[in-house]
Amino acid sequence: MTESFRVAQKIGLLFRPEDDIPRDIKDWAIGQLNTESKSIGIRSISNSQKIEPWPEEYLPNLSERAEMLRQLRLDEDLIQKDKTLSKIEMDRLLWISEKKNNIRFLDELRFSHRNVYAEDQVKQRFSLFWSNHFTVGISGTTRGLIGHFMDAAILANLNGSFANMLYKVTTHPAMLTYLDNIYSVGENSERAVQCRKNNKCKVGLNDNLGRELLELHTVSPAADYTESDIRAAAQVLAGWGTIVDKPQLEKFGLFNHWDAFVVNRAEPGTKVILGKVIYAGKDGLKNLTDHLASHENTKLYLARKLCQHFVSDDVQNADVEYIVKVWGQSNGDLHKIHQAVIERAIASKAPKFQWPATWLFQVLRISDSTYFLGWDDMHKDLNDKRMSAKKVFQELGQPFWAKRQPNGYSSSKSYWISGEFLERRLRFSEAIYNTAHPQFTPKEMMDRIGVNSTTRNLVEGLTGRKRKFIALMCSPELMGV
């Protein structure tokens, strides 16, 4: 590959036909971090050449999402309780409500569009890295919140401090719901005391988010924290979050789902986490996330993870140390950290294996294919073999809207190598060739990318444009090995 394509493969999504190939790739990559991020895509596959902004009506804010989720729950309750309905009729009514109120499918499509059509490809890659680091899987209402979480908690905070992103993520209703914190109540809180007195309700602590905040999001087990640290973190978190599809905001006199701290559920008293004293009250969480964000183990753990995702499969200590140093000097400024990652990714000549999802986006961009439906196509019965975005990511083994574990998808190459995973690469290449109308021939792409001789020999040794297309996309070079 030419240097521009090599770098864009590692830290971006490769160049679309309308992109100018930058002459100074480092300048371009770092400049990309400041690109404006917009949701763009296509309205319909029948008019796929027109890339335009997503309609406002499909970009609901948090309170609109809460309202949609509430409506969805009401409809589901109503429909499922109606004994007069047949199964078919029930499914039909549920589907009507889903179309109107379940934003998840449009969010997942919008996510796909952004990655295929976006002008901010480097930001999309970093955004996906952090969305995966702070995994939110589907659990209850998160189906309607993940899209917002990715936009507002991750992408919007890519250029601020890690501490800021951590706090935004931790207090976002998607995270608070996914890791059960919305049910957690301090054992000595007013609410718990009252419950015990009346003997009418039972409430208490749930340590799920407290544990993952330490283990997965910040310091990692290398910090040697104890169960008492985890418990104390859970106590700091108690009282944060509300059940989004129930009228809890009103009940607790709150105004915003993203800033929902319910005082009478909070644990009183000071807590100690990894030696840091945290006082009771709403500010306690910010003090805790700030402390964790600046912890040495957090820097080390995340620098390594960033290197493994962007720089090389065989992580080099020198790269990790460089990122750690920048992290320290900049007080965890993500803009500077990302810049350092880009520098090391360029400097390292080692290949970087690409995730199935990233590879798919890259294949679609360089071949100029129209694979994902347009937003208007979503609810139509198209006589088209194309899969929904949901099915595509499921099949690739990387569904971001799914019931999944909070550790996210591995950045380790070996996880993604198996017969079944590689058969998917062959089949998706074929499906794209057959259904998504690539505008470039394999030869045109090879010339534009400047492929190496292994790739060229492989492709030129085959007959038939479809075979050449599949082989090019499944070549070591395009897979990043």
């Binding site: 049910y183 208490g204 993604w416 198996s418 995973f421 590689l422």
Partner: protein
């Protein structure tokens, strides 16, 4: 709930379960036995051993488990019951074809899913200590093939050249890849990618079925069918997930019970698929940890330590509960919160390998579990 007041000592006398002798391994002991097969069901998220196999005779159980205690467990003996959703498993126990190991775990006490899952599959000196898995290493030593019923090749099976995975593709607009094309692409690749592409070629050459449904039950049945064939895999791995019930765990019904019901169906499907090969089979469950002894504040349980292992298959000739019961009293709990694990589950896995694959215990200890000493539990499970 049946309440049987019994001291720990009385119970142990009754079941004979405390007879944990330091067994003397007999070199080459199992070599002459006919080769069997082994299947591992990975229970992801941490199965609650006190829900799956409640120690109904332990006086502390009821108070620990007020909201999530079972109203109607299947009674195995005066001390232990089975969750009512483990119907099929209970029938196997009645027939002498299933056993339970209780209060057991890999020796890992830090309660992280991801360290625990890595360790239970890797089986080295601790979490993230190896890039191969214990079953893969065992198959490598025995020169026998294995298969995972999942999109990825899980860590547990890595370490042998003769392992593959099966999870049929559903990509609209694509067809079965051409054998010749795969060969060309394989040749352009190196190392593990080349091997994996070659595996795709092999599957195409074998004209393997691709219309198998991908739910765990259908996959278990198919795995059993494949294992029953001559030259088929002798090991298989399948996953049942979502055991991590921090909130609203449920009791007889509900979240955890649903997962146990699915597990029960998976075992049943294996039985069906294996056919007469069932007589040579051992199936065992594996989970990263148990859950807290008491209920948390949100009607669920948090990450714990000791759990339970379920064993099924024709290689078991007498059903039993193998346990050195640590008790649930406040002084008995591990770190004041969890069921203690008095049996190292690695030694249970080792016994299953010894029985199914015919490897020597010392060899398993050193080359499979990469340690110098592991108790031999073979006689407690298979005698």
């Amino acid at each position: 709930m049946t309440k049987v007041e019994m001291t720990r000592r009385e119970f142990l006398k009754l079941t004979g379960a405390s007879l944990f002798l330091s067994a003397v391994p007999v070199s080459g002991f199992t070599k002459d036995l006919p080769q069997g097969n082994i299947s591992v069901i990975l229970l992801q998220g941490g199965m609650d051993g006190l829900t799956a196999v409640p120690p109904i005779g332990d006086p502390a159980l009821a108070s620990l488990r007020q909201e999530i205690g079972l109203s109607n467990p299947i009674k195995i003996n005066p001390f232990f019951g089975l969750h009512p959703k483990l119907q099929y498993f209970s029938k196997l126990m009645a027939k002498g074809e299933a056993s339970v190991v209780h209060a057991t775990s890999f020796p890992y006490t830090k309660r992280s899913h991801f360290e625990g899952q890595n360790y239970m599959q890797g089986g080295g000196s601790g979490p993230f200590s190896t890039t191969t898995g214990w079953l893969g290493r065992a198959l490598d030593l025995a020169l026998l093939p294995g298969r995972a019923m999942s999109l990825e090749l899980p860590l547990i099976l890595r370490g042998s050249l003769d392992v593959d995975n099966f999870y049929p593709a559903r990509v609209s607009g694509s067809s079965k890849p051409e054998k010749w094309l795969i060969e060309q692409i394989t040749m352009a690749h190196q190392a593990e990618e080349a091997k994996a592409f070659a595996a795709v070629g092999q599957k195409v050459a074998d004209q393997e079925k691709s219309n198998i449904p991908r739910d765990p039950v259908s996959l278990a049945q198919y795995a059993g069918e494949q294992m029953s064939k001559k030259g088929g895999p002798v090991a298989s791995v399948i996953r049942v997930n979502q055991f991590d019930t921090h909130a609203l765990q449920g009791a007889d019904d509900g979240n955890h019970g649903d997962r146990l019901e699915l597990l029960d169906e998976v075992i049943k499907a294996y039985r069906k698929g294996l056919g007469s090969a069932w007589n040579n089979s051992i199936i065992l469950t594996l989970t990263e940890f148990g859950r807290t002894a008491s209920v948390n504040g949100t009607s669920g349980t948090d990450h714990g330590y000791g759990s339970v292992g379920l064993l099924a298959g024709g290689l078991i000739n007498k059903s039993r509960i193998i346990s050195e019961w640590p008790g649930l009293g406040s002084a008995d709990l591990f770190e004041d919160r969890d069921l203690y694990a008095s049996i190292d589950y690695r030694s249970v896995c080792a016994a299953c390998i010894e029985r199914a694959l015919g490897l020597d215990h010392d060899l398993i200890t050193q080359k499979v579990f990469l340690t110098s000493k592991l108790k031999r539990t073979y006689d407690y499970i298979f005698s």
